[in-house]
């Protein structure tokens, strides 16, 4: 295949999965903002995990990767082709075949192998999504990565390494692209369903470490972290990770709370319910408070200020967020009935 670049409009975005979805849909003629995708897809979430699968307790602030795309299929009728591969060669052959057909798929990679990013950003996160939009004459690939300001070349070896990185969410060459976009949508219904499901996920999943219950578990358990850490260095790293998980891993800021606030502002117009603008402001303020927790954790990690008393302070702030978000989602559920 000679060098080619498909007419793919590159966009930067706050979060790789929603940003990639937005770009993929735009390529096929459908404009849907990243925030709307996040909201309709019920992306906002919380979970605290303290079990044998994880070397150290950790938490999530969004639904699991792929769920937003699946929810878009359910709520808007958009269909996606998805595929994983047994070997890198099969994965590359499929990618080349799609590009030859004029289809620029999105693919899952390990962030670390994206050589075009500055070294200080390149950490091992194997659920990063990029669009592959062309190929050079030399056989390397042209990438639209929402974390990078323009379309950029990536060596085919680096792309292969990224697509076949290991780990618990190993990409296995996963790729996806839209195959069907309905001509008409019931946005109002989709937005309402997206909000209702988010409220359910935050308030009613009967599992003690998910949603608001997960926040409270996190708040209570954080004072146990010193007993679980290997040493002070490890504890410092784990506490610093609170900041990374809330702010650094493409969350759109403050654990996706800002992105959800933006969604609610857009939802106010779609549902013709101006009261949702107030909910949007409340979620923005809530995001500010999460960001304060994030900064406090980052400072504690950097300064090795890791006493149980200090961790208890962080726990108290997380409890406060749990109380605020519980009230918030209960009231939101009533408004979108």
């Amino acid at each position: 295949m000679s060098g080619t670049q498909l007419p793919f409009e590159h966009k930067m975005s706050a979060h790789c999965e929603t940003g990639t979805l937005s770009s993929q849909l735009a390529f096929h003629g459908m404009e849907l903002s990243e925030a709307l995708i996040f909201g309709i897809g019920s992306g906002i979430f919380f979970g605290y995990f303290n079990n044998k699968r994880f070397a150290f307790p950790t938490f999530i602030v969004r639904s699991k990767p792929g769920q937003i795309r699946k929810n878009l299929t359910k709520r808007l009728g958009i269909k996606f082709e998805t595929e994983t591969f047994k070997t890198p060669q099969q994965a590359q052959e499929k990618l080349d075949a799609l590009l030859a057909k004029g289809i620029p798929p999105a693919t899952q990679v390990d962030f670390f192998f994206m050589d075009y990013l500055p070294q200080y950003l390149r950490v091992h996160i194997n659920v990063h999504f990029i669009n592959v939009v062309g190929k050079t004459e030399g056989g390397d690939y042209l990438i639209s990565d929402c974390y990078y300001p323009k379309i950029v070349e990536l060596a085919k070896e680096s792309l292969q390494k990224g697509r076949f990185a290991g780990g618990s969410m190993a990409p296995e060459g996963f790729l996806f692209y839209p195959t069907f976009i309905p001509k008409e949508f019931d946005f109002e219904k989709a937005v309402r369903k997206g909000i209702k499901k988010a409220c359910f996920n935050m308030l009613k999943i009967p599992i003690p470490f998910l949603g608001i219950k997960g926040m409270r578990k996190f708040a209570n358990h954080i004072t146990e972290w010193p007993k679980l850490a290997i040493d002070a260095e490890d504890l410092s790293h784990q506490v610093s990770k609170i900041n990374i998980l809330l702010e650094d891993q493409g969350t759109g800021g403050a654990g996706f709370r800002f992105m959800y606030a933006t969604f609610l502002k857009q939802a106010a117009e779609i549902l013709k319910q101006p009261e949702l603008v107030d909910f949007s402001k409340r979620m923005m303020d809530n995001g500010d408070k999460w960001r304060e927790i994030s900064l406090m954790a980052a400072r504690m990690g950097r300064n090795r200020d890791l006493s149980v008393e200090k961790l208890r302070e962080v726990g108290a702030l997380i409890h406060e967020r749990a109380n605020v978000e519980e009230r918030f989602f209960k009231e939101l559920a009533k408004v979108v009935k």
């Binding site: 930067m12 200080y120 702010e247 650094d248 800021g253 800002f258 923005m284 980052a298």
Partner: protein, 90 residues
């Protein structure tokens, strides 16, 4: 001094005060050179970045609510000034 120059100096003073950089003269920070990669008179890290996001919100009353864009906006004093000016105008 025009408004932009004044704003850039305010940003530099904010950086120095927020990060408690006692040995840095705000005027020495270069407008167009990256602040995170060692090409300016100061080198920031990601925690400094969050400190600055919150300081910008406090001092200039504009919220930087997109962490990915934040990386670009915080990269230089020029970019911060442009962002603050555009947000305040909107």
């Amino acid at each position: 001094m025009d408004d932009t120059k004044d704003l850039k100096l305010q940003i530099k003073e904010m950086i120095v005060a927020t990060l408690n950089l006692t040995d840095v003269n705000p005027a020495d920070i270069l407008d167009d050179q990256p602040l995170f990669s060692g090409e300016n008179v100061i080198t920031l890290d990601s925690i400094d970045g969050i400190e600055l996001i919150m300081a910008i919100q406090r001092q200039f009353n504009v919220r930087l609510d997109d962490q990915n864009l934040a990386r670009n906006i915080l990269n230089t004093v020029d970019a911060m000034a442009e962002f603050i000016t555009s947000k305040q105008a909107s």
